[in-house]
Symmetry: C2
Subunit: 394 residues, 2 copies
């Protein structure tokens, strides 16, 4: 008789976005004319830039011509894209070989799949609040999870401390959901900790393009010693609006060893067995992101979202509400001084603004609330005006 993976029974259903949808539907049914501004979901809204769509359309046409048609290729990614990524990293003095970069379907996919390289018998350290994929993918594999608290005191940037135990460490900076960003010095402490404990850092850099402060690290490899202890996951989802276009990349340095084994070779084997590469059309679109025209367009889009975030940050400063993010991140994580869901209800009913209750991201998220900058300028301004109006009355 077939036996299922019993770890799936330990997964908790996260009703976060389902509950938000339900509450929103109920509100709209009662208030059919209410104008609602959605600042809940972390999805981009500005379309792909012209260089990217042109490159994809051209590639689609090439696929219809015998001489330029592409079948199976190296599952690790086309050289043209890996070269573009090598150059992108060079701008930050991060030197990579093309073979250290693996093109994949997205950071979510790669982070979750990368865990297959590790034994179930590891202590996994995960910050709370957290992007749920880190938790669930480890629960599915039956790993012991140890949480490290983010809170107002540490600015939602938990740090290693005496007695902390960890074999696999998840770090996300700029952080989802809190928008907080580690400094170089802070990441150096994590890298040193990992080296000392022979642990591996899985670094999620999905929001790196939102960093505007030049002193903050975009890549873990800007930190001394990181090549020996860290894997980096990134994607074009937030950098270039690829949430529905799907392309990520994972950096596994050749000198990175775990338990004496090369993680680069193990990941190459895993991908070779279970992955046939990303569509040619999509890889050509991704290549266009790294052209001069592509970089200029993407920078303009990010600047637009950043402008929204700045308006939000000013609002909460003016209201004297504590928050992280709002700069170097599309997220604002604010202290709501009450139950997250009560705050959700209040914001919806009194301001018509939808956000995400922090408690949906873990126990340390209780009492906090996430708003996103992925909206139009007009809606962002309008939402902040409404929020000012309701909170000034307190």
């Amino acid at each position: 008789m077939v036996k299922i993976n019993g770890n799936f029974k330990s997964l908790k259903t996260n009703y976060l976005f389902k509950n938000i949808g339900k509450k929103l539907a109920a509100f709209q049914a009662e208030n059919p004319t209410a104008s609602i501004i959605k600042m809940g979901i972390g999805d981009v809204t500005i379309p792909l830039c012209p260089p990217v769509t042109a490159a994809m359309a051209k590639a689609a046409t090439e696929m219809g011509v015998k001489e330029t048609f592409k079948g199976y290729e190296d599952n690790q990614g086309y050289d043209f894209l890996k070269s573009a990524l090598v150059k992108y990293y060079q701008k930050r003095n991060v030197m990579l070989f093309p073979d250290e970069i693996f093109v994949g379907d997205g950071a979510k996919e790669d982070i979750a799949n990368f865990l297959e390289l590790f034994s179930p018998d590891n202590v996994v350290l995960i910050p709370d609040p957290v992007y749920p994929v880190y938790m669930d993918s480890n629960i599915m594999a039956g790993r012991n999870i140890s949480l490290i608290d983010g809170n107002e005191r540490n600015g939602f940037l938990p740090m290693p401390s005496e007695g902390l135990d960890a074999d696999i460490i998840f770090l996300c900076s700029p952080n989802n959901p809190t928008g907080a960003v580690y400094t170089k010095e802070q990441l150096q402490e994590w890298v040193d900790f990992a080296r000392e404990h022979k642990a591996i850092i899985l670094f999620d850099a999905a929001y790196e393009a939102f960093i505007s402060d030049d002193t903050l690290p975009h890549s873990i490899y800007e930190i001394e010693g990181a090549y020996e202890v860290a894997v980096e996951f990134c994607s074009l989802s937030k950098t270039a609006g690829f949430t529905g276009t799907r392309l990520g990349y994972t950096v596994v340095p050749e000198r990175l060893k775990a338990d004496g084994e090369s993680l680069n070779k193990m990941w190459a084997r895993r991908q070779g067995t279970k992955h046939n590469g990303v569509a040619y059309v999509i890889q050509r679109g991704a290549e266009a992101v790294f052209t001069e025209a592509g970089q200029k367009s993407c920078a303009e889009t990010i600047e637009y979202y950043r402008g929204n975030a700045a308006i939000m940050a000013e609002t909460f400063k003016y209201l004297n509400i504590w928050f992280t993010g709002g700069v170097n991140s599309p997220y604002i994580w604010l202290k709501c001084k009450k139950d997250s869901w009560a705050f959700f209800d209040e914001l919806l009913s009194r301001a018509g603004v939808v956000g995400t209750p922090g408690s949906g991201f873990g126990k340390c998220g209780e009492g906090f609330f996430r708003l996103t900058a992925f909206n139009t300028r007009e809606n962002t301004i309008e939402a902040m005006e409404r929020i000012k109006r309701i909170f000034n009355r307190f």
Copy 2:
């Protein structure tokens, strides 16, 4: 200290295609003017059809316009594509609900990832010779593998027998590498066996579009009782030339239970956690495969490959060489009456034809050899003429 997944150490490096490449390079160095015809790799060569490339180019353009831009969507696939697949299955009287279909990046990805739903503690039954992904993805998870022999006696269609033990059963029909196809009666025996043993069949239908004999099943769900015991994996790689475009689909019937649990719900959870769906542009290309124009174009392409296979089959009949496939499949699997690699060397040196030694697909492949129909008509004819010339001399 981080501990790796030790099962990776049990993986054997498959040097099959690397060795073929080496031998070919050496031959070409010694015979720089030799005309080589490659019939080794199972990759398509005819470009995507016009309806597909036009749909992808249009979708790329839509992604650049605010009103038609797509971000995150249901990771299970767009309704437009799932509806097209529901209709495609209806033609064979297979009735599916859209929620029973999961759009993914390819059959290889889905087959390998689907195994995550099962405990390591299962007996996995795999036919030999075999598509290496079945073996390696189970070895990575530390499962016990039991092989069932394909051979000349059973026409490389192994069948269940008294005393056979299995919890998870891999079946691939039309088969890669042998081209052999199970009849409805044979698949009925497997379905009955699975029901009796409360086992699950993982059915790989990647080559179903090559079936020309109307009595042969394209889908496992044409077999009575299969909805309760089988998952089906298919892809557009061979159906529509998507090897470099990447789109597959997996059918998990709602009534299918394993160990009392719904595999449909478990797979939805796995995909929801570890997969963000297939690119919009690619899904629009896939939708076009199922339009009238798309079906006509794809049928023409397959007819072309079938014509090649028929020429190959005639040749080996004429030479009185035993084989499977050649009809209902792009593969011919022939008995070489000697060591597979010796046959490879002979074919290369005397006819300039490259094929794949059967021993690369498992111990039962020794003494056999695979040739593929994914070539031009001219090359196929030329290769068969050369083969006739060398073997008539024996």
